[in-house]
Symmetry: D2
Subunit: 245 residues, 4 copies
């Protein structure tokens, strides 16, 4: 038997991509594509078991609330839910016995990169992160680089080993310092979203790299969430909770 | 309080490297360096708690047996122990209440690479392995590449996705096929021991790479084993059992 | 003063991209966008100095012939011109004093990679090529990989050094053999078009890598050809002839 | 007929490596190994045609002067020759009709990397350099990185394209700025000497990387210099002058 799936925000880029991914999966059945002008009641009529939410930061909270109130599980890809909104949704989820899964990043490879980098951190002396995005990205470093460094530092009980105190003959050439991990941001056309974590000890290096070239990279994570959301408990945040290690 | 460590085969390259690593660690104390002409009784006199064995395939079994019989834990880096020898050592370990740890590869980075590649295998469609060693290596692929592919295939329930049936206009260019994982061996001077595992799905790739440039890369694994052997149970084979995930 | 440029096939993907590139360049002026239904006479009316041809294999020869006959220089990106057609166009070019430039690949980076790999070949002992494309590519290896190997072998007077005769414990794992250069083809989703040439000697490796992620990569080559075609002599084939070394 | 070669400083590490390289080459004959206590007259007695100089900064000028005065060509690998010393040696070389070749770096791969990076600079919008050495290197960036950036900027007539003005949420994360080229220095155990130059434009990147793992990497450059020094003219500085492009 297949799982009945509806997509909210089906007219958008992520929503459209999700519709295609659902249709391509034998275990899933796409029962409703809801666009901006459609009524949420169609979700109920279509007897959706899981609703995927890819609309806008303004609409997401009310949409999710509606679904949970109608005992449909929800997978949320839209960003912008505040801590307070999450608390409300958790309560509503518990009240109605429908689960809600929220993820800031659905790229399984990125989540695995962070997880592996953290797990390896206790076993090496030095760590450096190189991230590379195209020239239009406004911030440096990327949010993923900062989060990776945080997870690595959390997983490591002691300080990283500092190299021999050296002289910088060109200012800033050693990059940014995030708790002892050096972070280097490259901004090059011809790139999309890339990150490499390098862990080093005497005689060896372990490098973990993720390259993302388009939004299709998010679909395996979305599909995984659709299949697992019914077996979760209330509200869950973060794709890492769906991966078995 | 420090742990009292002795090294068997202290005159050899791995043994000598081990002596240096033990001396450099604040939690360890080097109490005996035993060379080819020295008596094993010196281990007892030195009141060693852990003995590291880096001698020769001929001598290893008797050496380990002596240590266990004298209630000293043993860390074995020498290769050549047969399954029968391991069974004997297991029995002797249980009888005397001293533990024995054996590892074919002490490079923590290589063990982590294999572990992470296996863990990631369920989440991607396609896998390729590129290994690179210098031009004197006799076999292709490396043992590590074959073991990596085996662990990945064991961890993955279903078949890998095959690319569109294509035409090979140059024979063998797609490399070796190990259970659906393509393996590529490069043999280049200017290299030591390198391996990259590439896992790919639509829109993204995750690459895990280990580079080893000399035998110092084995020391963190040896030191970890020295510190953990007393808390193991009888005979343990494989560095992966000492790493917390 | 700007150069007056017209684009034939302006409704196609490469033609449209070319229109944008011409408009974005201060030294160039776009004077005509000719689509499938437009008359070639518009090129004359617009007083184009250079015409860029991105139509179809069927139409390309007649289009180019028309332009040369009207003393307009032509840059041809359409594939499918036979040797005979090229000979005819060369004669027509000489007759009317208008130049014709044809290139099978307008990605400057790919052309530079091939050039550098060939130049370096005399100075190293061993070469390996790794190319990586997505899973839909029909042939292996890529045409670029074969052409790279050919240029490298042409540039090298003597045979490459073979590694110690080894044992293949997994068939084909050493890849394809193109005149002593080992070629490895990877087919992974999440990739577009990538190639790395590795040149190795004792103690060192030189690696030259080209990554292409979309057709915008061809525009710098097209623009370069537009600017240089008037100073060429008759018919020229290959972007490498426009790059100064 | 073979070329008669002598090595000055044969007891040192580079000198010893050079002796082995000369003996391994069919076109060369090793006719004298001169150590610290040996007399320079032995060079004359041995009828050396080319002398390789790998001694110390203190001794190098007098040694070279002696050789040139005795009409022997010299290949100098010792560092520390001042501009004045070079001028003196140039005069002496011209006077006696013997050539002198001096190189700060004999790794052919490093020289090619710099050359190719400079040649490619006119054809891309953005450049970044990542260099990686072990944790004991005192300066950052490496001299090779600075020299590479200089050669690239010299070869490029116009300014590099700057990325969209962005916000650095972690200080220095964009690395050092050398004339518009961003330079990133990594200091990791498990590394020797590595550098990657990344050149980028819309849709594509060209990466040129050199990895050096030991001093054997200098020998092809030394042997090339030995074979070519007799056909040079007076004093020549820099391995790039011996490579045909």
């Amino acid at each position: 038997m297949t799982l009945r799936v509806a997509v909210l925000g089906a007219g958008g880029r992520m929503g459209g991509e999700t519709c295609r991914a659902v249709e391509a999966d034998d275990e899933l059945e796409l029962v409703a594509r809801i666009g901006r002008k459609d009524s949420l009641e169609q979700l109920v009529d279509a007897m959706a078991e899981v609703v995927v939410e890819f609309t806008t930061p303004d609409a997401v909270k009310d949409n999710v609330s509606f679904c949970l109130g109608n005992r449909m599980h929800v997978v949320v890809g839209t960003t912008g839910l505040t801590t307070e909104a999450l608390d409300e949704l958790r309560a509503r989820s518990d009240e109605h016995g429908a689960n809600c899964f929220v993820a800031p990043n659905f790229a399984i490879g990125a989540v695995l990169m962070m997880r592996f980098a953290a797990q390896a951190s206790a076993h090496f002396d030095v760590a450096e992160i190189i991230e590379r995005h195209n020239e239009h990205k406004l911030d440096a470093p990327s949010g993923t680089a900062l989060r990776t460094a945080k997870l690595m530092n959390d997983a490591r009980a002691k300080a990283w080993v500092a190299p021999t105190a050296g002289r910088e003959t060109l200012e800033h050439v050693r990059g940014g310092d995030q708790g002892g991990i050096r972070v280097h941001s490259l901004r090059t056309p011809g790139s999309v979203a890339h990150q490499e974590v390098i862990l080093a000890s005497a005689g060896q290096t372990l490098s973990i790299r993720h390259d993302s070239i388009d939004r299709s990279s998010f679909m395996p994570g979305v599909v995984l969430a659709i299949k697992k959301v019914s077996s979760l408990d209330g509200l869950t945040v973060g794709l890492e909770h769906l991966l078995d290690f």
